[in-house]
Symmetry: C4
């Protein structure tokens, strides 16, 4: 994948996921303390998250691919041949890094280091939102890598900026981040008991994106083009 | 136009328009639920829409051109020779995709899947706003393709970010999106009965942009330059 | 300058300044109507203005240079040899275009087409702010063209985004826009009687930027480098 | 480092730091005057600061490297061989420029030119936040220069946009800016007595980033890659 050593790639994934979660959780705490308007708090949360994604993917992408997300690693495993062992190691350090990010945010804001969230996020509509959010994220990554690989950091940051608002779940779209967010009882939290529904939805959305992308982004043979360009309506 | 098959191009237009409308409608619902300040709601709506436009045009542009908008397809048909049949097919899937986007947003936010909007948007000032908004959009696309084609996704996203605020109509500038927005009685809605005025204005604005662009962006022959560079005042 | 005809260049300057002013004035009216919070209104005004600047400079820069600003045309005249006659024509159409932009914004928002502003903006602190704002703008343009010409649209848009907030005058930095803003009694207005102080300050700031840039951005001869690299402290 | 003379490089560092501080302090004053909502004020402060960083680093980077920050100069001194004398001169003009920026902001907003801040920012959590903020900033600069040097202005601007929100200290991350901010009793201030804790934390964070970057961003020899690519779990 890259020419960096496996240990550096794992540290890169852990560090990136930690800073991503510290931003999601930390900016939520900061915003929530400074305003009574929930939309304004989510707006600050959105800007911080979108901005840090562009940065982290730009600077750690060349080291480890900058997945920071188990379903993204899974998609690459299914698509590009990341070995099962590497994939499992990536996922493990993403989860550990994410939890470290929650702890760091809590330490900076003088809160108990680990907490169980009480924020309810469950039900069919929320799951549909997570399927949609993760479908979009993985599709954007795959199509971005296909057509504009240098722009992928921006595309992911901007996609999440939009998805925080257009999905009813505020677009977790990431099982490692979801687990880390179950350990904070602040703005960005999710009840631990609601994790399975979110994670299943995220995996499903990612698989859907893989399927759609593998058809939609493939150029047919010339003969097919001739046949299909102007079909009868 | 592109080397992707016609069916893929149609799916690309439908998918892109669906996600665009889901963002416009969904972020409007989310913002409206979280704040009582209409400017703040429009700000969130703006950011989400501008961001997703950059993303969708970047990742689907190489497949289908990423029009997501009947008047853009119309402009290309008049300018570049997209056949009438292709243009009609593009417009049809844009409208269907847009409606699917409204349904998706409603499903994620647990609302009735199709609704008739009651938001009044009509009258000469609103129509002037739509003419202006669509003139600007189509002009930006044509001039952007002429001078900085790789920047078009950004230029469209930023133009709409501005146009949400500087036009009195919040810049629909898109008949397919307008139709889809007539089917939601939420923040982004428009009464079905007000659609014709908007659509006529949008088509007029697009044609005006075509005319201005075809004169303004053309370099004269050298002889003309010599004659015109320093005319008497 | 460019290979476009003089008439096209003048139309480009007029059109660009008109859309810039329509955005500044229109987004101010929209924001002011939607919220009671002045900071939020200025934030919306800022985003719209910054975004449209990136767009307009990108798409009209190749035609006319995209000055949209008499002090920018003046700086190029002093620096690059734009003739006096061309400069005067540029300034004239910038002023006319700006006024047209105010009229367009008023028409879209159903207001009297021309108004005299009653917003007081005067005094030494405001003039210092305009000197600072215009110094920064012209310096950014000159240094941007010197080092990263393709990024100038972004640099100008981002500079004005910052300057709306860090200067006490909200950074007019443009005599044509200032004149156009004196004709609207809305959020973005300025009393006609306060125009001379602003315009003199803007010209002064632009000249200061020219002086600083012509020294700071010049590489010395090699001999000087040897002498100056490590001077005694 | 660059081929600009030493005197130009020092003026560039002083000018850049002055405009950076004028933006941080000035936008804080503006925002604080216009709204009672602290989150909204911080949001405006964030946008202005992030935007001006992109601009200043783009236009002054080619002259002096655009450090504007003693710990960044220190990092380059330790890493790339900026001489001790140059480093001290850079730091001196950064501090002087920063103070000039505070004075400029106060003059524009008609406030006493120098003030002692009374805003308390101290304690272990704040220091941890500053370590984190500065670690991130210096790591982003080093990794950005390594992989995407042309994107560094954007990466720094976006990183600070996020860090204003995810660190409990609003991410000063800069001793020269911290000193300048101790001289304003407005939104962006910090008590002079709290400076040492912040500066020590910032130096520590920068050194930590240097250590992590020098290990993480180094590609191992080929033999190591073979050995490490797929280690036993």
């Amino acid at each position: 994948m890259t020419s960096f050593s496996f240990s550096r790639r794992l540290v890169s994934e852990a560090l990136g996921t930690a800073l991503l979660v510290a931003t999601v959780v930390g900016s939520g705490i900061m915003a929530d303390r400074l305003t009574a308007d929930t939309a304004l708090a989510l707006l600050a949360n959105t800007l911080a998250t979108g901005a840090i994604l562009v940065v982290l993917i730009s600077v750690l992408g060349p080291v480890s691919g900058a997945h920071f997300n188990p379903v993204v690693s899974l998609a690459f495993a299914l698509r590009r041949g990341l070995t099962a062992r590497s994939t499992l190691a990536y996922i493990a350090v993403q989860i550990l890094g994410g939890i470290a990010g929650t702890i760091l945010a809590h330490a900076m804001f003088e809160l108990p280091l680990l907490q169980a969230s009480t924020t309810i996020r469950t039900g069919g509509a929320q799951w549909l939102a997570e399927v949609t959010a993760t479908f979009g994220l993985v599709f954007v990554i795959l199509a971005g890598l296909r057509f504009r690989s240098e722009a992928v950091p921006w595309l992911v940051g901007l996609y999440i900026t939009a998805a925080y608002w257009f999905t009813a779940s505020t677009s977790f779209a990431n099982p490692a981040v979801a687990i880390a967010r179950s350990l904070t009882n602040t703005f960005a939290g999710i009840r631990p008991v609601d994790l399975p529904g979110f994670i299943v939805s995220e995996v499903f959305g990612a698989l859907l994106a893989l399927m759609v992308a593998s058809w939609l982004l493939t150029k047919p043979r010339d003969s097919q083009i001739l046949a299909e360009t102007e079909p009868a309506p």
